[in-house]
Amino acid sequence: MQETLARWQFAFTTVEHFLFVPVTIGLAFLTAMLQTSWYRRRSPEYLRLTRFFGTLLVINVAIGVVTGLVQEFQFGMNWSSYSRLVGNVFGAPLAMEGLAAFFLESTFLGLWLFGWDRLSRRVHLATIWLVFLGTILSAAFIMAANSWMQHPVGYVMVNGKPQLNDIWALFTNPVFVWGYAKVVLAAITTGAAVMLAVSAWQLRHGGDRDAFTLSARLSLAVLVPAILLAMLVGDELGVIEARFQPMKIAAAEAQWTNCQPCSFSLFQVGGGNNDQTPTELIAIPHLLSLLATNHWNGAVSGLTPLNEQYNKQFGPGDYVPNVFIQYWGMRVMAYLAVIVTLVGVWGLLLARRQKLGTSRRFLWCATWLVVLPFLMNTAGWLLTESGRQPWLVQGILLTRNGVSPSVSTTWLVISLTVYVLIYLGLGAVDLMLMLRYARRQLDAPPAQQDTDQPVPAMQY
């Protein structure tokens, strides 16, 4: 019971946290791009856009930061056995994250918001880039920690406890390198989709045509390469995970038996957790081999043989992750990515023909497109984390052995209820504020004689 509640709590708080994180990373990047354009060209449009999207960024940062606090406390609160066992490895990147990234991000965000009229234009521009640097550094350390759980490296076992003996191994872990690239690209895709949606809504509702056409073009120019790269990186990540966590990939394809070559089913009926004979509606030959191994005729191990092998290696038990989550997590992510790419390319074509601001059909699609990256991110994390089960640290610690022995079911129920109430409430407030500020009119351009005046701070 404790395990189930603790897992639900982790899943709920992490999924909610990761709704905000990619927007922060992505919008920090795009806001920095806008401000750089203002710095270079001194065109007031870019300044107005910078402040407009900067406001959205900080509304979002606030909730991203506080939900991150829960993440950091949660390891000790709900997973104390895990913390005791691996704190010397897993805690290290977390502490580095605080020292290297959180200080940078929060201090320079304060400088950026309040420093408009106190810093030179150049230094002020540097502050927003340092905020962005802080966000991606933070992602790097937390991904290094997470990748270690997927594929532990750089440690020796001493008296049954893993001990860190090579910190560099955590940052050269192939799961980290590719997973990190994937996360940053996904975050930039999300931020670009948010900016695109806001710009499209504004263009549909009589917002400043010139300014929001600029931001729509910028977001498309970022969105399309980012999602294409994300798909390429994701493909490579799949190959790496097939090597280190074969269960994860086999479950993602609901592949119960060994196969060579393996086909990829586009859609299947049935195939739940213990249903080994789903009806594959459309199967593409060789595609799974290609995805999982990069070879046309690559072999993929099935769930049943893998489970038998794990039983021999780690003792009796069921080592198959939740196949339903894996199968559909993978497909939701991949199929939605295709839709995002198509809409993005459509937008780029319109932009080339100077029709971006006038195609109402595209603008409608672009507004609603914003929902998809959030679904993709969530599906991707479910695929990654649920696919690791029943392991907490692959091959070292089972999830059920990681919970806090001193924490009762009652305590877990209380904390889960509190988090759900707070998160839903704050999530609603955040959404309301984001919508309100996204629909606000762009600030009027400064009068001509004022353009050399200092820009006022963004105060509370």
Partner: protein
């Protein structure tokens, strides 16, 4: 000195940094309604810490993360044992954290009052709960042989722990009041003085009582040690200076007081990190709770390289935002026009500010009042 002791000291330094820096943010949060009074005043008070509080709060996050990395057992026992208190603390941190950003995002009066309430209560609960938690480390908690906490939620509320929490709340109030007086002008500043004067004797008594209690708790003999003594002198000095409305001195002395109190707690604790009231042999110590040497070595390199950089840019932030904040800045443009208020900057006790930088400052600086900036850029 081994890496283990070094990391114990570093943890103490991080907690000290947190309470010295976030201490005044917490005080400002608790007092902003009272000292600010109307909405313009409250906004002035909140904006004194606007650019600073987030960076200050990171000290807490880093302290917790450093605990995780350097003393995994300490982190695990403390966070899982103090479970419900941690949930409460997180709730307080969450509401307080978003209240800064969200309070000003709507003109609705009920909305602003609601977030003000969240800010006040959150800022009160954070030092209280962390104080109880830190006090409990020294007072002892029921911990069994496998380092698991065996008490209930109510076990946490021991007299010494509660006293530590109350002391920290009191000292944060005085620290915050002095900070507001240092960073505001006119009537807000006067009210901050008044609050500081009222809080000073209470804070002094709380700190003196706490130091005496800690001394006894740790079995420290007949005489106070140097740090305890410094803490006592500093808090008496702070109370004295508060009576004379010398906010700069008050603030400096409350800074010393807070630092001495936190350091006292940790020196009294060493070499234990969590005392077991079940059996002293079950206590967590720096040795049985620490990570292996390699992790500590790596973390030492990181900390030695990064902490000075962090201190440098945080100090620079304080320098950039050294100017006072006036409630006048937040009154509607019409009112600002009617009464030619002093511009934000030229208040006496920011003497090092170069004059050139001060002139172009707040919105009121531009003649005629109704510039595009005032009307458009700060609509909230």
């Amino acid at each position: 000195m081994g890496f283990v002791t070094f990391w114990f000291i570093l943890i103490a330094v991080l907690w000290t940094g947190f309470f010295v820096l976030e201490g005044f943010d917490l005080g400002v949060g608790m007092l902003h309604g009272r000292v600010g009074r109307d909405d313009a005043g409250r906004r002035a008070v909140i904006n004194t810490i606007g650019p600073l509080w987030d960076g200050n709060e990171v000290w807490l996050i880093v302290a917790a993360a450093a605990l995780f990395a350097a003393f995994p057992d300490w982190y695990a026992t403390m966070f899982s044992g103090m479970y419900l208190a941690m949930v409460l603390l997180l709730g307080a941190l969450i509401f307080r954290g978003v209240s800064f950003e969200y309070r000003g995002k709507s003109q609705d009066e009920r909305w602003r009052r609601g977030w003000s309430l969240a800010l006040t209560i959150g800022s009160l609960l954070v030092p209280l709960l962390i104080g109880i938690a830190l006090g409990d480390l020294l007072a002892g908690l029921p911990i069994d042989a496998s380092h698991e906490y065996t008490g209930t939620f109510w076990t946490l509320f021991q007299p010494y722990g509660v006293m530590t929490g109350v002391m920290l709340v009191a000292v944060c109030v005085l620290h915050g009041a002095a900070f507001i007086a240092m960073k505001t002008t006119d009537e807000v500043r006067t009210r901050a003085w008044r609050t500081a004067r009222r809080a000073a004797p209470v804070t002094m008594l709380a700190v003196l009582a706490w130091i005496a209690w800690s001394h006894v708790q740790a079995g420290g003999g007949a005489f106070l040690n140097l740090i305890e003594l410094t803490g006592c002198i500093a808090v008496i000095g702070a109370a004295w200076e508060a009576r004379a409305d010398r906010e700069g001195w008050t603030f400096s002395l409350t800074t010393v007081t807070i630092a001495c109190c936190v350091v006292t707690l940790f020196t009294d604790l060493y070499p234990n990190v969590m005392i077991s009231s079940t059996n002293p042999a079950y206590s967590l110590t720096v040795h049985n709770a620490a990570s292996p040497a390699y992790t500590l070595k790596v973390m030492t390199v990181i900390a030695v390289v990064l902490l000075p950089v962090v201190l440098a840019y945080q100090a620079w932030t304080y320098y950039v935002f050294r100017r006072r904040v006036s409630a006048q800045q937040f009154r509607p443009a019409a009112a600002a026009l009617a009464s030619p208020a002093p511009p934000a900057a030229p208040a006496p006790p920011a003497p090092r500010a170069p004059a050139a930088q001060e002139t172009s400052a707040g919105p009121t600086a531009s003649q005629g009042g109704k510039t595009w900036k005032q009307r458009r850029w700060t609509p909230w």
